[in-house]
């Protein structure tokens, strides 16, 4: 087994994989990562480079440029319309070998989670998955200016801080929504178009038909972007059923604690807090949820937590960004009304 580990020479610069989502827009998480990458690059006194591989990649350049990379490298080709694991890893690996970045960051999306571990294996370097924090730090043993990567561990009960002391590049996939995106006007961006020609297939995998758009299925809770969850405090199945309307207004899914499931207000597939079922939506709203440990341990990784119940001291309120002390059913109705009104206006 030979690793293409780059040991000789200095590694410089921070790279961000600027993913294009559904071949039609720049992924929010990519802009967030460019924003954070900018700050890290400034701390190191190095350059920030964003990489785009897409069909009609030029379309996305201005938006990415506004978020302050020093360099944008892009390739534009019909073969790059979808993320393809037979093309992008080779292309990306070639660029790493040539330019020797010190840090490479990926959004922890489906594509990022495919690309990053492949590159880490090729270069024999470390990768930290689903990070929620990135900073530059010194370590008494490992030296100065290392990337400190923080990620949830032990089912979300702990945060582990991870470094990659020797191998390069240092790599991380980063949870979406943990950094804010911000535009920068003070950086002059150099734009580099990469020459690219699609490689021929090795015949091991062939497409039988072009990818088809499908209706979004009922998303498993683990993948939901927004979760509205109900607990005992909703009081009745009638109130619980109103969650579905709110979930649909927010583009999310409905979850539950143990009590609604016990009471048959909903099926067990909606229960959060079973073995292995951890949800990490951007938004979690708990209606009448007090927050038993099994439940809270499974939602702590949510980006924003809102609790709506009558007890401001409840464990869920303790861990919430926003605390509403009120009757859950009443606020649920008010929220539905408000969102409907906004959608119409």
């Amino acid at each position: 087994m030979k690793d293409a580990n780059i040991t000789g020479g200095e590694h410089r610069d921070i790279w961000v994989f600027a993913e294009i989502q559904d071949h039609e827009r720049v992924l929010e998480g990519a802009l967030e990562l460019i924003t954070r990458g900018r700050e890290l690059a400034d701390a190191l006194g190095e350059r920030l480079c964003a990489l785009i591989f897409a069909l009609n990649a030029e379309e996305y350049l201005p938006l990415i440029e506004r978020h302050g990379p020093d360099i944008i490298m892009y390739a534009s080709d019909p073969a790059l319309k979808h993320y393809d694991d037979r093309i992008i890893p080779d292309l990306f690996a070639g660029l790493i070998a040539e330019h020797r970045p010190s840090i490479v960051l990926f959004p922890s999306t489906e594509a990022g989670s495919d690309l990053a571990p492949r590159l880490a294996a090729r270069f024999g370097t470390g990768l930290t998955a689903h990070c929620t924090g990135l900073s530059i730090a010194d370590h008494p043993e490992y030296g100065k200016n290392l990337l400190l990567m923080e990620r949830p561990a032990y089912g979300g009960n702990a945060i582990a801080a991870v470094m990659c002391p020797h191998a390069r590049p240092q790599m991380a996939t980063v949870r979406q929504g943990v950094f804010e995106k911000r535009e920068r006007t003070d950086v002059k961006t150099e734009i580099v178009k990469l020459s690219f020609s699609a490689p021929g297939s090795d015949g091991r995998i062939e497409s039988l038909q072009a990818p088809l758009r499908r209706d979004r299925p009922a998303v498993p809770l683990e993948q939901a972007r927004v979760i509205v969850a109900g607990g005992r405090g909703l009081g009745s199945k009638k109130n619980f059923d109103r969650l579905y309307e709110l979930a649909s207004l927010l583009g999310g899914e409905t979850g539950a604690t143990r009590v609604p499931v016990f009471n048959r207000w909903c099926g067990e597939e909606r229960m959060i807090g079973q073995t292995g079922r951890t949800v990490r939506p951007r938004l979690y709203i708990g209606f009448g949820v007090s927050g038993q440990i099994q439940h809270t341990a499974s939602i702590v990784e949510s980006e924003i937590i809102v609790s709506i119940n009558t007890d401001p001291e409840s464990p869920l309120a303790e861990m919430s960004d926003y605390v509403v002390t009120d009757d859950a059913a009443a606020v649920l109705e008010a929220l539905i009304a408000r969102l409907k009104a906004e959608k119409q206006s």
């Binding site: 039988l208 937590i305 605390v323 009304a337």
Partner: protein
């Protein structure tokens, strides 16, 4: 007959374990060890392939001697052959060192037509191993399999990709990565449990799989955990006041600020 390898990992049941209040580390004594849930889904895929076209299933686990329990369970589900990759020098492996060791063991015990892994383990939650096996073994990987059909040396697969689906035809060998939404794991037959404890488990050490010691274990792991602390569950706890209507308006306004509502 196809030859299938599945990877199984023994993990603490993080969903039910207790945690140290200071460090957030798992209290191992309180945690029951289970087979990693996604790996059971991988096993289920292997079993249903065997049910339709016939296959011999090898279960491979890397872990301490106690991981034999996970292999007995795999045997109870129907694995024909069990291999435990066990050596104190593997301790402390990160995802890359783990992938290297598993790849070397797969080469040693193979060849296989299909390698099936769970999407991710509930203890590490990296989801790296499938992809890294694909890189190291130079075998293509397919994820999120919606439907499949095996015809000789080819599999046609309908797979989900983002919000799209794709129909592909892949030649063997192939790696599949399977998660909990991909199938429903059958229930264990008690009769199979009773005989699984007699299953012979082949043991492999680091020397058996070859390679250099610095590729595995702590020395072979590029990443280092420098600190672990209890996740601070306390957040800003901004209290939202007023009547129900004002509260609703205030919540909606906060959601917009966070970019969750986009209109």
């Amino acid at each position: 007959m196809l030859s299938i390898l599945i990877c199984v990992k023994q993990v603490p049941d993080t969903g039910r374990a207790l945690f140290d209040l200071k460090t957030g580390a798992i209290d191992r004594a309180s945690a029951e060890n289970i087979v990693n849930p996604d790996d059971l889904h991988a096993l289920e895929t292997a079993l249903s392939i065997r049910d339709t076209v016939g296959a011999r299933i090898t279960a491979l686990s890397m872990g301490p001697p106690g991981a034999r329990e996970a292999l007995y369970e795999a045997a109870a589900y129907g694995a024909d052959r069990c291999v435990l990759l066990c050596d104190p020098r593997f301790a402390g492996s990160d995802s890359l060192a783990t992938s290297r060791a598993l790849a070397a063991a797969i080469i040693k015990t193979g060849p296989f037509d299909l390698i099936i892994t769970g999407r991710e383990a509930i203890d590490g939650s990296t989801g790296h191993v499938g992809y890294q096996l694909s890189e190291i073994l130079k075998i293509p990987l397919v994820t999120r399999i919606h439907a499949y059909n095996i015809e000789g040396r080819y599999i046609t697969i309908e797979r989900l990709y983002g919000h799209e689906y794709q129909k592909i035809r892949a030649s063997l060998p192939l790696i599949l990565s399977v998660g909990r939404e991909d199938n429903r794991v059958r229930f264990l037959r008690l009769a199979d449990i009773a005989v699984s404890s007699n299953t012979a488990i082949e043991e492999l050490s680091m020397d058996d799989i070859g390679g250099r010691e610095d590729e595995y274990g702590i020395t072979g792991s590029p990443t280092v955990v420098v600190d672990t602390r209890k996740f601070n569950h306390t957040r800003s706890r901004e209290s939202i006041e007023g009547g129900a209507t004002e509260k609703a308006r205030a919540i909606v306004q906060r959601l917009k600020k966070h970019g969750i509502l986009q209109y």
